[in-house]
């Protein structure tokens, strides 16, 4: 699949944003005043910046509001509801924390639930697609949770939770890569099943239907850049999980230290998310004799 920068930005930034908002909403860290303002503000900034970036890849962004209509069937629509719902529900909680007041924990907890739903929906948008075997697996939503919560705990300054989540993230990410590498072949989609001509012999693409590019090829067939996958995987694990885990535990707890660890983590998250798209193969590539 084409690794569109807007989608990579959106999923990583808003993922981390909702991860942070989740941590703050559960009350796992007690922040007040200026610190509360900075952390809640960062959470809102990341979440909304990501959501804004996501509208850039729409063909008709001015109609984006229509995406709220099909929550009964569409994960994309559910994501819109959960994300907007979380941001609205948590506003009073954030204001209370900044102004030093307090709200009953039920407010924060419903907002926290909405954050989790937003993350789940983002993961399910990809995991539901049987056409992309690498994504069509429980590891996809699990990864979206793990990246978001690791980022959130790093920023919120929960060193041990963050280190633990980074370790879990690394294990899960490794497992997702390894099992994902085999899934396309294991599902048995081939040019033979795509054309139904397998019973006649070995099928090969002979004459493409068009000499130029088209939307399908630009969007679903991405062959450049997979060469560096092994290096990028190592980089993603080091920057995304290993180094930030060491940083949060080793550095004395302060907002600048958390932001530094988070910046390193985010670089790893970008690399992992780029691979998430670039390595995903869509079955339509079979028709073109390419994946």
């Amino acid at each position: 699949m084409h690794p569109a920068p807007s989608v990579i930005l959106f999923t990583t930034l808003s993922g981390a944003g909702f991860g942070l908002l989740f941590v703050l909403a559960t009350g796992a860290v007690a922040v007040f005043g200026l610190e509360a303002f900075l952390l809640w503000g960062l959470g809102y900034l990341l979440a909304t910046a990501g959501l804004l970036a996501s509208t850039f890849h729409l063909g008709r962004p001015e109609r984006a509001m229509r995406a709220f209509s099909q929550w009964r069937t569409s994960w994309l629509s559910r994501e819109a509801w959960a994300a907007a719902g979380a941001l609205l529900m948590l506003a009073p909680v954030a204001l209370a924390a900044v102004s030093g007041g307090g709200l009953p924990p039920a407010f924060g907890l419903t907002g926290a639930l909405a954050c989790l739903l937003a993350l789940l929906s983002t993961g399910m948008i990809y995991a539901q697609l049987r056409t992309v075997p690498r994504w069509n697996h429980w590891t996809t939503p699990a990864l979206f949770f793990a990246w978001a919560l690791a980022g959130g705990t790093i920023l919120a300054g929960l060193p041990y939770a963050a280190a633990l989540l980074c370790a879990a993230l690394a294990v899960l990410q490794l497992f997702a890569w390894r099992s994902g590498d085999r899934r396309f072949a294991a599902r048995g989609h081939t040019l033979a099943t795509a054309t139904g001509l397998g019973s006649r012999g070995v099928v090969r693409s002979f004459a493409p239907p068009h000499t130029g590019h088209n939307y399908l090829m630009r969007e679903m067939i991405h062959v450049v850049g997979r060469r560096h996958a092994a290096k990028l995987r190592t980089l993603a694990l080091l920057l995304g999980a290993v180094i930030p885990a060491i940083l949060v535990v080793a550095l004395p707890s302060s907002l600048p230290a958390h932001v530094l660890a988070f910046a390193v983590h985010l670089a790893g998250a970008f690399a992992a998310r780029w691979l998430f798209f670039a390595e995903a193969e869509h079955v339509v590539g079979l028709f073109y004799g390419a994946r």
Partner: protein
Amino acid sequence: MTALPPPPAKKLGLVIDLDTCVGCHACVTACKGWNDQGYGVPLSDQNAYGSEPSGTFLNRVHGYEVVSGGGPAEIVNFPRSCLHCDNAPCVTVCPTGASYKRAEDGIVLVNEDACIGCGLCAWACPYGARELDAQAGVMKKCTLCVDRIYNDTLPEEDRVPACVRTCPTGARHFGDLADPESAVSRLVAERDGYDLMPELGTAPVNKYLQPRPKGAAEARPLAPLLDVRATGLAGWLDRLLERL
């Protein structure tokens, strides 16, 4: 609503005969021609006369080579358009309700006025049947020529999809695949019509027909011509030159 309707009583669709398709792309052109001025926004082209032309099409024709054993390679021309799946994954993923499957005849359509161009439906389709129009920013797909097949202003013989009407070899057949007595259903029964990528559970309405088995290649019809023996003056010259 992007929920799928209950199984429709009528399932309009195409049966594509890979035995007779000659790969002329007439259906591609006819489809673009009709749908450029009918249902929804036109099918735009980008850089049409430049070095990297690109454009939106609702129907594409591939060419495949099939080799088995030591026999000669077989070329199969393979038209690919929306299969109007019963279990259409492209419909249920749509966040806006723009994608829908009609309850009355099973045709899968896009309401272009509601589409936000998110592209998720194209990701969900295994068959590459949906293309986002680069100019209009909305999703385009085969409409089964819904604006022809019910169009009373057209002469009777034209009330079939443009691709079916234009195909010079009659390789594309249109009809109701839910009616076991229809011509298309009988054709499917006779020729073992099959589904593309059945393992994905999309339950396509459109069916494909295998190329019929071909006999062994005939003795080369031009072979005797290669063994001409010259007679008369030419024969004498031939023998003379041979000896030199």
